[in-house]
Amino acid sequence: MLNHGSINRRRLLRVGGGSLVAATIPTTWAIAQAKPVKVGLMLPYSGTFAQLGENITHAVEMLVAEKGGTLGGRPVQFVRLDDESKPEAGPQNAERLVKKDNVDVLIGTVHSGVQMGIHKVVRESGTLTIIPNAGNNDVTRSLCARNVFRTSFTNWQPAYGMGLALAKKGVKRAAFITWDYAAGQESGAGFKEGFEKGGGTFVRMLTLNFPETNFQPLLAQVPGLDVDAIGAFFAGGGAVQFVKEYAAAQLKPALCGAGFLTEGTLPAQGKAAEGIETALHYGDNLTGAKNEAFMKAFRAKAGRDADVYAVQGYDAAQLLAAGLDAVKGDLDNEAGLYKAMRGAKLESPRGPISFSDSQNVIQNIYLRRVENGLNKVVGVAVESLADPGTGCKM
């Protein structure tokens, strides 16, 4: 029911507000361009993932502020929506942003089940969407869409890097422990692929139901596996508890995993996490002016240290800025916009990033070791790793 010919009150107000901002630019063309870009932030602001949603939001706002509050010459207006990490509400919440709030861009989300709901809606509506976290492979593989980009990772990426680095270190036998859900399965498959590619023998995958944290039954099986290393994919509270229990059980195989195992959780894990090696696209002591400036600015804005989620949010906004700059804020120029975004070479706090044909981020996967409560980068597991994007037809 979008009224095409008539101008409704809301649109009038929006144009009016925009022209105030752009009052110094004389041409009418500039006034039209200065209509705000509406950016919908569909993220978890309550529940277990709330902190991730908040950090992503801070980082997006930070980049826009750095650009003087405008992207591609247009002011930016944010619409926040708490997705509660509820998959069954995902389609309706995405529709709310797309149809009711008429956002030009949707940035979201963290939970991969909710992402499926968003993806369903934006594939039909064609709304430009940038994923700042959710890692489900399919969204940039068999389900890929030309209006959907991802600045975070596929579940496959960090785990593949870890498996490969582990095998290259000379480890012969390894197993994987994770939650029995899509992210865990995809991460485990990536680990297995990398480890076997490096010449190791993957023994088996141990799983428990998501999001249960009764890890003891699994840990008790570890000695019987006869492996040299255990890979793991857990995040948040599960990661904290798993690492602590693994340490307390004093198991012989070294613990390693996708970087989420020790990401944002080190203060809570304490010395149980010391020495754990993980692979991820970010680390705590990455050098480079870009990262240092980012860390400092984030701390000033959010009052806490930046983490990988903040970086992913920041790059989502950077990617959007690159696209909008290339088309001078003209979002109707879809071909130009997507081309510019796919071709974007960005200087991220994590290092240089670019985008694959399936529009997933290409990035370095770093090998990190926990030292003194920090995820210290000790090497590069894989340089410029791109997700294979299997099955993506665009």
Partner: protein
Amino acid sequence: MSSSHMLPQSWIGWCALAVGALVLAILPFYVPSYYVGLTTVAMIAAMLALSVHLLVGGAGMVSLCHGAFYGVGAYTVFFLSPEGSPQPTWLTLPAAMLVSGLCALVVGALSIRTKGFFFLMVTLAFGQMLFTVLHDTKLGGGTDGAYLAKPILSLFGYTFDPMSLPRSQRSFPAYYVALGQLVVTYLALAFLLRSLFGRVLHGIKLNEHRMEALGYNTGLYKLGAFTIAGVFAGAAGHMWSLQSGFVNPELLAWHKSAEALLMILLGGINSLAGAIIGAFAFTALGEVALSLTDRKLLVQGLVVLLAVIVLRHGIAGIRLRDPRRWLQSIRSSGKWPNLTVRKPVQEARQND
């Protein structure tokens, strides 16, 4: 006591329902398309709530497996009509109702021996089992859920393609299918509750032992109600798939059942229309809370708390009352105000 209090008691009630249906029928032409989708969601919720009402309001059986039957209905569409190969509704809808009904028949046969709180827990367990099968195995696309091809709207050889409509009206077909299904569900359940079957159920709700003594095979009646409610939940689940084209295991989770219970309590447990009112009120509450604040859940919690304290018989039970007498009764009894005058159904507390 008859069960006719479940239904509008006068022509005024029936008129109100007819007006409501009429308003819903013309609504899409007067509101932005987002609200068409939102109202469709509310109508799907109302169908689920209606089927729960048959159990709770009709037979006094509080089940936490009901959401699972709804999810099974939605997943049946996924299994029959995977992405890329859509199937006609005349196939998917009966199939969804059949599969959900069969699940309900099996679960019901094993659970109806237990009563009250134990029934609640046994149904919770079965619901969790169905949830786990779809959540933890690859059968249904796993935890992230999966896409499906929305069934083709087809009946008696006549097929309708939503894509033939202008973009702004593409959500209309699902809306009208939902509206039609809602009306049919309401009328079917109203008829059922008024029939001999419904009266026996009501008798069981009031006093099961008495009905047994009168020679009724109460177990069979309860199983019948449980299965029929499952069939209608499956139909509601089918509508979810038709509207969203997406299934996720959370559709089967126990809090879906809890949400449906919440709706019928909010609307009023003593009338069938209360289920519809409750579903719309619950959806509207979420929407308003989202518009007003970032803390939707807090608003929802406080409203529900307030509702359960002062609205003892739901929205449908509100009757105007002399405010002075109302205040007086608070002062004299020291108890919370009670906005309703309708007497609660005398429940035999045999079930605990």
